[in-house]
Amino acid sequence: MSAPAFGMAFASQAAFRALMECLSRPGEIRTLEGVGAPPPMAPATAALVRSLADYESPIWLDPAFAAAPAIAEWIKFHTGAPIVAAPDKAAFALVADSLAMPTFLKFAQGSEEYPDRSTTIIVQVERFAGPALTLQGPGIETTRDFAAAPLPADFAQRLRDNREMFPRGVDLVFVTGQAIAALPRSVRIVEER
């Protein structure tokens, strides 16, 4: 039960648990212990990928990540996850250029019978600040404000369209250097500021 023997297992568990908390409480920000990875991958992104990805979970890279060959090599070496060119075949999509992120419909939405067969999009942003969205939904006691930047100008509308498709849809994870927040498909926007 010594720490060295289970070090990697503990790091995976801690990263997963942080994301589990974030998905359970949409918009809440948690920090997690990052992992070193080639640029432009943020330490928290790397921790999540190492914690959750393996040969059963194909990964799609946005052009900003794909432009750095070291990223695909790092992912294959540490997780064994296949890199896929088609975003709708991905279990996880990694987005380094948040402003240019593709519309959610390009990713797997799951089916009515199996809505879980959908893509989780991990988006790197510069900061959790900017114009706030006021959210409601499972995991939120009353309302919660969420802000991240930079995001596409029509981001709020994309999120509304994603909610319209429930239970199909994508789940979003936002990452700054060491901090994460999540917006599961269940969130509704009640106010935009």
Binding site: M8, M20, S57, P138, E141, D171
Partner: protein
Amino acid sequence: MTAPVYNFAYLDEQTKRMIRRAILKAIAIPGYQVPFASREMPMPYGWGTGGVQVTAAILGPQDVLKVIDQGSDDTTNAVSIRKFFTRTAGVRTTTATLEATVIQTRHRVPEAALSADQVLVYQVPIPEPLRFLEPRETETRRMHALSEYGLMHVKLYEDIARHGHIATAYAYPVQVASRYVMDPSPIPKFDNPKLSNCPALQLFGAGREKRIYAIPPYTRVTSLDFDDHPFEPYRHDASCELCAATDSYLDEVITDDQGNRMFVCSDTDYCEHRRALGHGPIAATQKEPADG
């Protein structure tokens, strides 16, 4: 349960990743049953292997684990699951609801209000609430996809026609966030209201049926009912004979071979906690106070 420990909390890392991905989907789609590749565990299916796998996937070295079976920490099932995680994960265990960060349960929800720092893991034997209406998985999948829950209401209404009330007392079906109808596992319907707007995350694991589902914190959970027959949580019209609680779920236990019975809290930690605070049998509380 005596195999040597190679992995933290028994499961290998690849299996934990697979279960963790299923848990994350379950949280994002409240009440929806996510299929997962359930593993053989070193205990029989009836012993809560689904709950054990969920607990093993979320547990970390900082966690404090409580395991209850029918409200008690001391049944064979609860003791052996607690020992399993003590041995394979080395985590601290407790019987105090308020001290636990992860609570694995079979057939009850603790009486004490749970907090945002806790996760409640339910052991589930039959996760599909529509199964008794429709044996085919493809059909129940389709019914959930279309929110086709009319037959479920018809079944409950037949109870009313036959018994004058809804006779379902355990595993009483709920609807989560106005969407999926879900089996809350065989808890008494007394516990159903505790599922709604709970500050703690609730996870459900069915090992044999290979399903994981979830209720996120602060999610509205309603028990299916009718305008003319609203849902009523049942409890024996009595108080606990050990701690005088009038708000807890009671078990009727036989006290001797003459068939005498008494009512006691099903949640043993709740009962002990109350007695430690000075709450006693009703006869005692009715005595004149010493300083009176």
